[in-house]
Amino acid sequence: MSAALYAALSAARHCAPGCSEKDEVWRSGKLRLYRYRSISGLPSAVPLLIVYALVNRPYMMDLEPERSLIRGLLSRGLDVYLVDWGYPDGADRFTSLEDYLEGQLAGCVEEILKARGVAALNLLGVCQGGVFSLCFAALHPERVRNLITMVTPVDFHTSADLLSKWARKIDVEAWVGQANVSGDVLNQLFLALMPFRLSHQKYVDLLRGEPDRARIENFMRVERWIYDSPDQAGAAFREFVVWFYQQNRFVRGGLEIGGRGVDLRNLELPILNLIGARDHLVPPASSAALRGLVRSSDFTTLELDLGHIGMYVSARAQRQVPAAIGEWLAAR
């Protein structure tokens, strides 16, 4: 490593993610609901709630001014809320998917609807948050006006889905036991999907060319995000792996949350499905399967030449994704 690169990395080691101003508007247990401050005058009448995944932290949506999906949405006049699930600890080991969906997410939605005096909001679900958004919209169709799913797995048994192939063989009951699942262990599993690229090549790439400050700072913010992996509440994790990865219940049916059936055929609302053509974590075919499972007559698929993480932070995503979402919502 050159002295210049070492100095640049050292200088960037304290780079904090997050750039847009926000206010905490509701909390429940470790969950925090944030509302972002408008940067374009009056916000739109229908609020947009971003539902992020339980794995990794949601600040990836607002990493830095030049790479912030949230900033892009705010600049298009959208009224943006974000669910931050927090860091589960040992006391959360029995928290189930029902708790997350019918307790915490439903609580966020009710709070927003009450505060804004509207009957329904727009949902933007990211990755596992997209799965949650699909479940919520199917359970409470009257509460969701438009649904946007981003890099969201739907068919968990597509041939390119390496994570699913592994998950189907693992004894999840034994793995979880009565404990939480370590975020670090999960991270190792994600890195093992492409071990040479994700744990080696990306560092070697830093050695190419002069250490550009903006590039190094961006790298360090993403690096921090990647390894900022909350532990997973044991019960919810077990349910998620068994119901979705192993039993593929969106496709095969039989999904129940809190004793109520979740059937994607109940979805008739407008849907925008954003797919990363180079997504190594959620294969494009897995997301694309949504089209054949819902009844929405207003269904838009937008496949972009991006990877899973690139969908939120790449320069191309900043140009394409907020614009696509803003225009799609404006038309509805």
């Binding site: 004894d171 034994a174 793995w175 093992a192």
Partner: protein, 236 residues
């Protein structure tokens, strides 16, 4: 008493204490018998018996404290007051062994993938004999990563890797659970809360929270039912 009747193979120092005691007793008794059974040999035999059995009471108490006995042979039968501790220890050791074996299977597959990647990379290299500028070196490195990821992906999507990974996860889970179970008696002995106790309390709190959350909804339903009944009565 037969020679070598301890619980381990002959010569193993970790035999079951009563069996070892019995062998020593037999040797001392033979010496006493052959020594003419006079008062001096009788006294020596009496001292031996006091020494030999002086620890029996202590060993009985050992079963009530969680101290770790000497690691037994994996298949040694567990007997006496420390049998529970011995079995726990054997389970931890067996789980650890399964974990190591599973990791070796994964390592072997990983090594196979690397060998395949290296063959592919070398064949690509020989067909491109460019001078090694820094850019060319980076290009070579990228080519190696491409070869490695391709070979790894073929292996990782295969049945053998998935099975080996699942076995590793299962063995690691078993080892964690057995290790936790072997530590739990220490917490009990020190009167510290155990994980099982905390889990039990957590579930009670959770049940209470669910009851509390359900109460307003139930109250709402009861109130609505009462109002409906009152309306019906008024109509009559």
């Amino acid at each position: 008493m037969a020679e070598g009747s301890s619980t381990g193979p002959p010569g193993t120092p970790t035999g079951f204490a009563p069996f070892i005691d019995a062998e020593r007793f037999a040797a001392a008794a033979r010496a006493f018998h052959q020594g003419g059974q006079d008062s001096q040999t009788a006294a020596a035999f009496g001292d031996f018996l006091r020494d030999q059995f002086g620890g029996v009471l202590d060993r009985m108490w050992e079963g009530s404290a969680p101290g770790r006995p000497a690691p037994p042979a994996p298949d040694a039968p567990a007997l006496g007051p420390t049998r529970e501790q011995q079995e726990r220890w054997q389970r931890v050791a067996a789980a650890w062994q399964r974990l190591q074996e599973a990791q070796r299977r994964l390592q072997r597959l990983w090594s196979d993938a690397l060998a395949e990647a290296a063959r592919a990379f070398v064949s690509r290299m020989s067909s491109a004999a460019a001078p090694l500028t820094p850019e060319a070196l980076h290009g070579l490195y990228d080519a190696w990563v491409d070869c490695a990821e391709e070979a790894y992906a073929r292996m990782a999507h295969g049945e053998a890797f998935g099975t080996a990974l699942a076995e590793t996860v299962k063995a690691a889970s078993d080892w964690r659970d057995e290790s936790a179970a072997s530590i739990e008696p220490w917490a009990k002995w020190l009167d510290w809360p155990t994980r099982n106790e905390i889990n039990s309390l957590s579930m009670r709190v959770r049940a209470l929270e669910q009851q509390t959350a359900a109460r307003p909804a139930a109250k709402k339903r009861t109130t609505a039912a009462k109002k409906r009944a009152a309306r019906v009565r008024r109509k009559r």
